[in-house]
C-alpha cells in the first residue's frame, strides 16, 4: 500500500511538473491577465528599485514581491541571452503552481493523517484544477501568492494539531505576510489564521504564539499598506476609484442572481452572462470565459469562432459540476465538524475559503466593471487549497469501503483528469 501510495503521489507530481512547465513555455505571455502592465511593473521594480507610479503600470496597486523576483530573473536571462524577459516569470508561476500542489498534499496529510485516499484525491483535484493550470502559465503573481499562503496555513495547521511554538508561529506569520506582499487576496487567509489562532489561544490561555504570528505577518505587510495609504490615499487602493453612490446600487440584480446560469453549461464564453457573478466565475474557473487560453485570437475577418472552442469549454463546464458540489459540501461539512469537535485546525479551511469568497464579493461589488474585468476565476485561487482538501474529505467520508468501490473511485478520478487533458495541455 505504501509503495502504491507514494508511487501515485510521485506520478501525479511529475506529470503536473511536466504539464505546468510545458504550458509556461508555450503560452504567449501577452495573453495572460494584465500581462503588459505586469511587465512594466517588473521592469521598474527590478531596474530602478522602486515602486511604479500610477502612470507607469496599470497594476501599481499590486504588492511587489513577485514583480521583484520575476523582474530580477528576467534581467538575468536577458543578460545571458536565454530568451525573452518574461519567460522566467512564467516559469516562476509554474513552479509556484507545482509547490501549491505539494503543499495541498501535505496539508491533507497534516489534517487527516493515515487517510491516504484523501491525500491522493486532494492532490489530484488541485493538480487538475483548470484555474490553477491556467494561472501557472501566465506572467502573473497569483500562483506565488497561493503557494506562500498555503505554506502559512500548513504550518499553522500542523502547529494547531500539535503545539504552537514561537518558531512555528513566526514561520506561519512570515509565510502569510509574504503571500500578502504578493497578492492582497492572501489577507483574508491571514485573517482566518489569526482568528483561529486567537480562539485557540483563548482556550489554551497561551497568547504568545498568536502574537508572534501576527507580528511576523504584520512586520512584512504594514510597510506596504502604509506606502499605499500615503501614496494613494488608501491602504487597499485599486487601480480605479469606486463609483460614487451606495454600494447596494452598484450592481444590478442579475449580478447576484445569475439568471443565465443554465447557459454556463452550454455556451460558457464571453460575452454571455458577463457580470453575472456565479455563472461568470464558474465558466472562468472550469474553462476560459474570456478566451485567453488555447483559443485563436479574435476571429479572422468573416470567420466565426471555431465551434470546437465553445464545445471544449462547455465540456469543461459540465465536468466541473460534481467537483464543485463536492468542494462546497466539503467546506460546509468541515465547518460543522470543526464546530462540533472544537477543532481549530479543521476550522482553518472553511474559514479561509469563506474569508476569500467574502472579500472577493465585496471587491466585485465595490468595483463594478462594464467589461467584466473584475470577475476572474484566478482572483479566487486562494480558496483552491481549502476547496480541494474539503472535496477530498467529503469523498473519503462518504465512499463505501471495498475493493470494487475503490476501483470505481480510481476510474472516476482518472476520467475527471483524462476528459480535461485536451483543455489543460497547450
Amino acid at each position: 500500500m505504501s509503495r502504491r501510495y507514494w508511487g501515485a503521489v510521485a506520478a501525479v507530481l511529475v506529470a503536473e511538473a511536466a504539464l505546468l512547465a510545458w504550458n509556461a513555455w508555450h503560452y504567449d505571455w501577452l495573453r495572460g491577465y494584465d500581462a503588459f502592465a505586469n511587465a512594466q511593473y517588473a521592469d521598474v521594480v527590478s531596474r530602478e528599485y522602486r515602486l511604479p507610479s500610477e502612470a507607469e503600470s496599470g497594476v501599481w496597486h499590486t504588492p511587489p514581491l513577485w514583480f521583484a523576483l520575476a523582474g530580477a530573473l528576467g534581467r538575468l536571462t536577458t543578460a545571458l541571452g536565454l530568451g525573452h524577459a518574461q519567460r522566467p516569470g512564467q516559469l516562476l508561476a509554474a513552479a509556484a503552481g507545482l509547490v501549491t500542489c505539494i503543499l495541498v498534499f501535505l496539508l491533507a496529510r497534516a489534517l487527516f493523517p493515515e487517510r491516504r485516499v484523501l491525500h491522493v484525491v486532494a492532490l489530484v483535484l488541485v493538480a487538475a484544477s483548470p484555474a490553477l493550470v491556467r494561472a501557472s502559465a501566465m506572467y502573473h503573481p497569483e500562483t506565488l501568492a497561493v503557494a506562500l499562503a498555503t505554506g502559512g496555513v500548513l504550518v499553522a495547521a500542523r502547529a494547531l494539531r500539535t503545539r504552537w511554538t514561537l518558531g512555528s508561529a513566526v514561520a506561519a506569520g512570515a509565510l502569510l505576510g509574504l503571500a500578502c506582499l504578493t497578492r492582497a487576496w492572501a489577507v483574508p487567509v491571514l485573517v482566518a489564521v489569526l482568528v483561529v489562532a486567537g480562539l485557540h489561544a483563548w482556550d489554551t490561555r497561551r497568547w504568545s504564539p498568536v502574537a508572534a504570528c501576527a507580528a511576523g505577518s504584520l512586520a512584512l505587510l504594514v510597510p506596504w499598506l502604509a506606502n499605499q495609504e500615503l501614496a494613494h490615499g488608501s491602504a487597499l487602493a485599486f487601480n480605479r476609484p469606486p463609483p460614487s453612490g451606495s454600494v447596494l446600487d452598484r450592481r444590478p440584480a442579475s449580478f447576484y442572481l445569475g439568471p443565465r446560469s443554465l447557459r454556463a453549461l452550454e455556451h460558457p464564453i464571453t460575452p454571455l452572462f458577463r457580470n453575472e457573478l456565479v455563472p461568470h466565475l464558474y465558466a472562468d474557473w472550469w474553462g476560459d470565459w474570456a478566451l485567453t487560453w488555447d483559443s485563436p485570437p479574435p476571429p479572422a475577418p468573416a470567420a466565426l469562432l471555431p465551434s470546437g472552442v465553445v464545445s471544449e469549454r462547455a465540456r469543461q463546464a459540465v465536468v466541473g459540476v460534481v467537483p464543485t458540489v463536492l468542494a462546497l459540501a466539503g467546506l460546509i461539512a468541515l465547518g460543522l465538524l470543526a464546530g462540533a469537535r472544537r477543532s481549530p485546525s479543521l476550522a482553518l479551511l472553511p474559514l479561509s475559503a469563506a474569508g476569500v469568497a467574502t472579500a472577493y464579493v465585496a471587491f466585485a461589488v465595490r468595483y463594478p466593471s462594464p467589461d467584466g474585468d473584475t470577475i476572474k476565476a484566478t482572483y479566487l485561487l486562494m480558496a483552491l487549497p481549502a476547496a480541494a482538501v474539503a472535496a477530498a474529505f467529503l469523498i473519503d467520508a462518504l465512499r463505501p469501503r471495498g475493493r470494487s468501490w475503490a476501483t470505481a473511485g480510481v476510474v472516476a478520478l482518472g476520467a475527471l483528469v483524462a476528459v480535461q487533458l485536451p483543455f489543460l495541455i497547450l
Binding site: 443565465r260 454571455l272 475577418p301 468573416a302 470567420a303 459540501a329 462540533a340 467520508a397
Partner: protein
C-alpha cells in the same frame, strides 16, 4: 458529530444552494425570451458603453437577417449588421463593396459587419467587439 453525518449535511446544504441557483435561472428562462444577438448588442452598447443607439438606415444593413443598428463611437458613426452565416457575411461585404471599395471602413468580426463613417481607431473598433455576441 461523525464525519459521515457532517458530510451528509454538507451535501444537502450544497445541493440546496445549487438548486436555488438553478431555480432562479430556470424561472428567469421561462419568463424571458432569450434576447437576439442584436438586442444583446444594443443593450451592451447602451448600458455598458453609454452610447445612443438608433436604427440603421442603409439598404444593405436593412437586408441583414439578424438585424442592424447604428451608433456613434467616439465621434465615428458606425452601422452594425448581424448576419446568420459566413455566406451572409460575404453577401453583405460584397453589397457594401459594390459601389466602391470601403477599405478599412468595412470591418468584419464574426457574424458582425460594421461599416464605419471613417476608418475606425483600435479603441473604436474594440467597443463594437466588446458588444459582439
Amino acid at each position: 458529530m461523525t464525519e459521515r453525518r457532517a458530510a451528509r449535511i454538507g451535501v444537502a446544504c450544497a445541493l440546496v444552494v445549487i438548486l436555488a441557483q438553478l431555480v432562479v435561472a430556470s424561472a428567469w428562462s421561462l419568463g424571458h425570451e432569450d434576447p437576439t444577438e442584436l438586442a444583446l448588442t444594443r443593450q451592451c452598447l447602451e448600458r455598458e458603453k453609454g452610447l445612443a443607439v438608433g436604427s440603421a438606415d442603409d439598404s444593405v444593413a436593412a437586408s441583414a437577417s439578424g438585424g442592424a443598428l447604428a451608433t456613434v463611437v467616439e465621434g465615428n458613426a458606425v452601422t452594425l449588421s448581424v448576419a446568420r452565416s459566413e455566406a451572409e457575411v460575404e453577401r453583405l461585404r460584397s453589397a457594401y463593396s459594390a459601389s466602391g471599395d470601403p477599405g478599412t471602413r468595412l470591418d468584419l468580426h464574426g457574424r458582425y459587419v460594421a461599416l464605419w463613417h471613417r476608418e475606425p481607431s483600435p479603441t473604436q473598433r474594440q467597443v463594437t467587439y466588446d458588444c459582439a455576441y
